[in-house]
C-alpha cells in the first residue's frame, strides 16, 4: 500500500489565474486575479465570502489519515469536502458533478508538472455548519484517485477563497475548524472572548491566490505555501546547499512506473526550521522538485507547509489582516 500526499490544490487554480492564454477563455474570474503582482496584501479571490447569520461557527473536522474533511451541502447533496487551503477555490469531483459542468477543455497543471483537462461551473448554494455561500465559481475535476487511496467519498475540495473575509482556526487536537467573521480591520465580530494566545504571528502573502508565508531554514528565508491539503511538508530539491544541508535525508522512493508520476522523492527531517523567531524542530518533509509548479507560478516556490506543520498546535489564519498565528502544543514538538 502506498501513501500519498496532496500538493495539488495550489496548482489547480494557478493556470486559471495566472494571466495566461487559458484564463482568457474564462471570463468569469477575470479581474483582480489577473494581476501579475506577486505580493498582494489581503485575499483577492473570485468568490464572495459566506452569508448567513452566525458570526462564528465550529465545524467538526473529520480526519482521514493526514487529510482533513469537513461536511458540506451542495444544493441537495451532502458529503465530505477536503479542507484544502492549497486549492485557491472550490473544486468539485466530476464523478458526482459532471452534469454541473458549464465549460470544459481548460487545461490544468499539477505539482508533478503534467497537464490535464479541467472544467468549470457555478454552484447555486453551498452550506456548511450555518455558513452559506451562493453563486460560487468552482472547478470540476476528477478526484477519484484520492477516494480510491483513502477509501472515503469526496465531493470536492474546500479551497482558500471560501475563507475570504474570515479568520480560520485549525485545531487538530480537538478536530475542529473554527470560522470567525471579521470587521474591516480584521477583528472578530463575534462577541465571544478571543482566547487564542499566539506564540508567534507572521504575515502571510498571496501569490496567484495561494497563501504563502516566509520561513527560515538554515538561516535563509524561503517562501512556503500553506496547504492543509498536503499530507506532508515539501521542500524543493533545488533549494540552496546551505538550506538542504540542514535536512537529514532518511528515505528515498523511486516511483518508476507507479501511476503517480515518475519523479524521485525523499523523506527528510527539518533540523533548522523557524517561523518568525520560533524554532520548530524535527518536522518531517518530503524533498522533491517543485520546479514545474514554480514555472506555472512564474515564481520560485521553495516549499509547502502541510500536515506536519498543522499538527504543531492551534493555527489561526486571518484573511483580512493577512496574518498567521500559532499557539504551539505545550507538550508537543515545538
Amino acid at each position: 500500500m502506498r501513501f500519498f500526499f496532496r500538493v495539488i490544490g495550489t496548482a489547480l487554480f494557478l493556470l486559471f489565474s495566472s494571466g495566461n492564454s487559458h484564463s482568457e477563455r474564462i471570463p468569469l474570474i477575470a479581474g483582480p486575479e489577473m494581476n501579475h503582482t506577486i505580493y498582494i496584501p489581503g485575499l483577492r479571490m473570485g468568490n464572495a465570502g459566506p452569508a448567513g447569520e452566525p458570526e462564528s461557527v465550529i465545524i467538526p473536522l473529520k480526519r482521514i489519515g493526514r487529510l482533513f474533511m469537513i461536511e458540506a451541502k451542495v444544493d441537495n447533496l451532502v458529503g465530505n469536502f477536503l479542507f484544502d487551503t492549497g486549492s485557491s477555490q472550490l473544486v468539485l469531483n466530476s464523478t458526482y458533478f459532471r452534469k454541473y459542468i458549464l465549460m470544459s477543455g481548460v487545461e490544468g497543471g499539477g505539482i508533478t508538472g503534467s497537464t490535464g483537462e479541467l472544467s468549470r461551473t457555478r454552484v447555486g448554494r453551498l452550506d456548511i455548519s450555518g455558513f452559506s455561500y451562493t453563486n460560487l465559481l468552482a472547478d470540476v475535476t476528477s478526484l477519484g484517485h484520492i477516494e480510491n487511496r483513502r477509501g472515503v467519498k469526496i465531493l470536492g475540495l474546500f479551497g482558500a477563497s471560501m475563507l475570504k473575509g474570515l479568520e480560520v482556526v485549525i485545531d487538530i487536537n480537538h478536530n475542529e475548524l473554527r470560522l470567525y467573521r471579521l470587521d474591516k480591520s480584521g477583528n472578530r465580530l463575534s462577541v465571544q472572548k478571543n482566547d487564542f494566545k499566539a506564540d508567534v504571528t507572521e504575515k502571510v502573502f498571496i501569490c496567484r491566490n495561494v497563501l504563502f508565508v516566509k520561513v527560515k531554514i538554515g538561516g535563509k528565508f524561503l517562501d512556503f505555501c500553506l496547504d492543509t491539503g498536503a499530507e506532508s511538508n515539501v521542500i524543493s530539491c533545488y533549494a540552496s546547499k546551505k538550506v538542504l544541508s540542514t535536512v537529514t535525508i532518511l528515505r528515498r522512493s523511486d516511483l518508476l512506473g507507479v501511476g503517480s508520476g515518475e519523479s524521485e522523492v525523499f523523506l527528510g527531517k527539518l533540523n533548522d526550521f523557524s517561523l518568525g523567531e520560533h524554532a520548530i524542530t524535527n518536522m518531517q518533509t518530503i524533498v522533491t522538485s517543485l520546479g514545474t509548479l514554480s514555472s506555472i507560478y512564474d515564481y520560485p516556490i521553495d516549499g509547502m507547509l502541510g500536515y506536519d506543520f498543522f499538527e504543531q498546535g492551534e493555527i489561526s489564519i486571518n484573511l483580512v489582516k493577512s496574518e498567521i498565528s500559532i499557539s504551539f502544543n505545550k507538550t508537543g514538538k515545538s
Binding site: 501513501f3 500526499f5 496532496r6 464523478t95 476528477s142 484517485h145 506532508s232 518530503i286 522538485s289
Partner: protein, 481 residues
C-alpha cells in the same frame, strides 16, 4: 613483551577504527544538493548493512554490486550514476534527481510516496467484533429494541445543535441531528445487530458519550464510544441458590469470569451481541461447568465432554437433485478451504442435501459426486471458466448488477475493484433479455465495468463514473454502511 603489548594495542585500535568506519548510520548516508542526490557508501559494509541501504533508499542491488566492484560510471535502466572515490574505504554515488511528471490526467495532482514513511494510512478498517457487551454507567442512555437504537444524551440544554456521528452513518457530522427533550437530547436510529463506534457533536465539538465506559482509540489522540446492538440472550433456568454464574464460549476464548450473568426472576441472564457463525459455549455455575440444559444441540469438545452449540446466521441448504445411485456426494467450497473430506451431503428422497450456516459474503463451491467435481446445476450464477468454473453464491447479497441492454449478447461479465478486474470471475445471467448478477459487497467504494462479448463498457444505468488511465472511465458504486 612491551613491544608485543604495543602491537596488540595498535591492532586493537586498528580493528576499532575499522569497526567505526563500517558503522551504518542512515541519517548520514544520503544528501541532496542542487537537484542531485549523493550517497556516501562505505566499502566495508556487510551484507546486512547493504540490504538496509537498499531498503531505505530504494537502491537496486545490481547498482550496489556495480559500486562495490569498483565501477566509476553505471548506466542502469536509463539512469546514469557516477561513483567518486572519497578515500580508501568510502565512495560517493551520485545521480541527478529524476523529474518526470505523470502524463495521465487522473493523477496529475497527486504525488505518491511510500506509505511506510509516515505511517499515515487511510481510515483503518476496524476488526469486526465477534461478541460484545455494553458498559454504560447509566442504563437510560441507550436502548435497543426491535431494531431501533435509542441514544439519549442527558443535559446540555444550552447547546443549540447536537448531532450523532458514528460508523452507522459514515461519521456524517450533519445527517443525524438529535432532538431536544425534557432532560437532554435524543435520537432513534434503525440499526442491525452489531458493533458501532460513535461520538456526539455539541455545537461543532466532538464529544465522547460521558455515560459509556466502552471506548476505543480513534487513532487521532482521542477515543470513540462503542456500543453493541444485541442479538442474543443466554438464559439458564433455576440455580437460584448459586452465587455467581458466568457464560464462557469459543467466542471469548473460554475466559471464565468475563461474561457475568444476572439473576432475574429465578433465571440467570446475559444479553450480548454475537457475530454470525457457529459458536460453542457453557455456563459456569459457582465454578462448575455445565452445558445449556435448554439447548439440545451439543458437540464433543475433543476431551470426552460436550459443549452446547449455537448457530447464528442464515442456514443455506445446498441441494443436488438426482444421482440416486451415487455412493457419496461432498460439498466443497472456499468457505471450508475446499476441504473434500468434511461436508458429506445427506441422501434424501430426490437427491442430496446439506444445511450449512454462512455469514454474509460471496462464496464459490462445487459438488463432488463419487470423486467427480461438478458445478451446481440448479445455480445459474458461476465464476471463472473452464475447469476453474465454480458455482457462485452471494449470501445476503446487497447489490444486484443489472444490464438491461444487449439481449443478444453471448456473454456478459463484470470486472471491477471487487474481483481484481478479473474478466471471467463474475458471469452475468440473462433472463427475459436482461443481465443480472447478485453480489455481497462490504461498505465502501467500488469501480467496475461490464464486458459484453469482449467489449468493455461503463454501466449505462449508472450516472456515476470516474476517469481511468485508458481515458474510457470506470463506473463508480458506493455501498453505504
Amino acid at each position: 613483551m612491551r613491544k608485543t603489548k604495543t602491537y596488540l594495542l595498535l591492532l586493537f585500535l586498528l580493528l576499532l577504527g575499522q569497526g567505526a568506519r563500517s558503522q551504518f548510520n542512515p541519517s548520514t548516508v544520503c544528501r541532496v544538493e542542487n537537484g542531485i542526490m549523493y550517497f556516501t557508501i562505505d566499502l566495508n559494509w556487510n551484507n546486512t548493512q547493504k540490504k538496509e541501504l537498499t531498503r531505505l533508499f530504494d537502491l537496486d542491488s545490481t547498482l550496489l554490486a556495480a559500486v562495490y566492484s569498483g565501477k566509476t560510471e553505471i548506466d542502469l535502466k536509463g539512469a546514469k550514476w557516477e561513483v567518486k572515490k572519497l578515500n580508501s574505504h568510502q565512495v560517493e554515488l551520485s545521480k541527478s534527481i529524476r523529474i518526470k511528471p505523470e502524463k495521465t490526467s487522473s493523477s496529475k495532482d497527486v504525488f505518491l510516496v511510500d506509505d511506510r514513511w509516515m505511517n499515515a494510512a487511510g481510515e483503518a478498517e476496524r476488526e469486526s467484533a465477534v461478541y460484545g457487551v455494553n458498559r454504560f454507567t447509566r442504563i437510560s442512555v441507550f436502548r435497543y429494541k426491535e431494531s431501533i437504537a435509542r441514544f439519549f444524551l442527558p443535559g446540555h440544554k444550552e447547546a443549540k445543535k447536537v448531532f450523532l456521528s458514528g460508523s452507522f452513518n459514515s461519521w456524517s457530522t450533519q445527517q443525524t441531528p438529535m432532538q431536544p427533550c425534557d432532560s437532554g437530547w435524543i435520537i432513534d436510529m434503525k440499526l442491525k445487530p452489531g458493533k458501532y463506534s460513535y461520538k456526539y457533536i455539541l455545537d461543532g465539538t466532538w464529544t465522547e458519550d460521558p455515560f459509556n465506559r466502552l471506548t476505543e482509540d480513534d487513532t487521532y489522540g482521542g477515543n470513540n464510544s462503542v456500543v453493541y446492538c444485541y442479538n442474543r440472550i443466554f438464559m439458564l433456568r433455576g440455580h437460584t441458590d448459586a452465587h455467581r454464574v458466568f457464560l464462557a464460549g469459543s467466542f471469548n476464548n473460554w475466559k471464565e469470569e468475563e461474561l457475568s450473568m444476572v439473576a432475574v426472576k429465578g433465571n440467570w441472564l446475559i444479553s450480548m451481541y454475537l457475530h454470525e457463525g457457529t459458536h460453542t459455549y457453557k455456563f459456569i455455575v459457582d465454578k462448575a461447568w455445565i452445558t445449556d440444559p435448554d439447548n439440545k444441540l451439543k458437540r464433543p469438545d475433543g476431551a470426552g465432554n460436550f459443549n452446547s452449540v449455537i448457530e447464528i446466521g442464515q442456514s443455506i441448504v445446498f441441494r443436488l437433485k438426482g444421482f440416486e445411485n451415487a455412493k457419496n456426494v461432498i460439498l466443497a467450497g472456499d468457505f471450508n478451504g475446499w476441504n473434500t473430506g468434511e461436508l458429506f451431503m445427506e441422501k434424501v428422497k430426490d437427491g442430496w442435501q446439506l444445511a450449512y450456516v454462512l455469514g454474509p459474503g460471496n462464496y464459490q463451491y462445487k459438488f463432488i459426486v463419487d470423486g467427480k467435481w461438478m458445478i451446481d446445476p440448479a445455480n445459474p450464477n458461476t465464476s471463472g471458466s473452464g475447469e476453474m468454473q465454480n458455482s457462485f453464491l452471494a449470501n445476503k447479497s446487497n447489490y444486484l448488477f443489472r444490464l438491461d441492454k444487449f439481449p443478444s449478447a453471448k456473454k456478459v461479465t463484470i470486472a471491477g475493484s471487487f474481483n481484481g478486474w478479473n474478466q471471467d470471475n463474475f458471469i452475468m445471467v440473462q433472463k427475459d433479455g436482461k443481465w443480472t448478477f447478485p453480489i455481497y459487497l462490504k461498505p465502501g467504494k467500488y469501480t467496475y465495468k461490464f464486458i459484453v462479448d469482449g467489449k468493455w463498457i461503463r454501466d449505462p444505468g449508472n450516472d456515476l463514473w470516474e476517469e481511468n488511465e485508458y481515458g474510457t472511465g470506470n463506473s463508480v458504486l458506493w455501498i453505504e454502511p
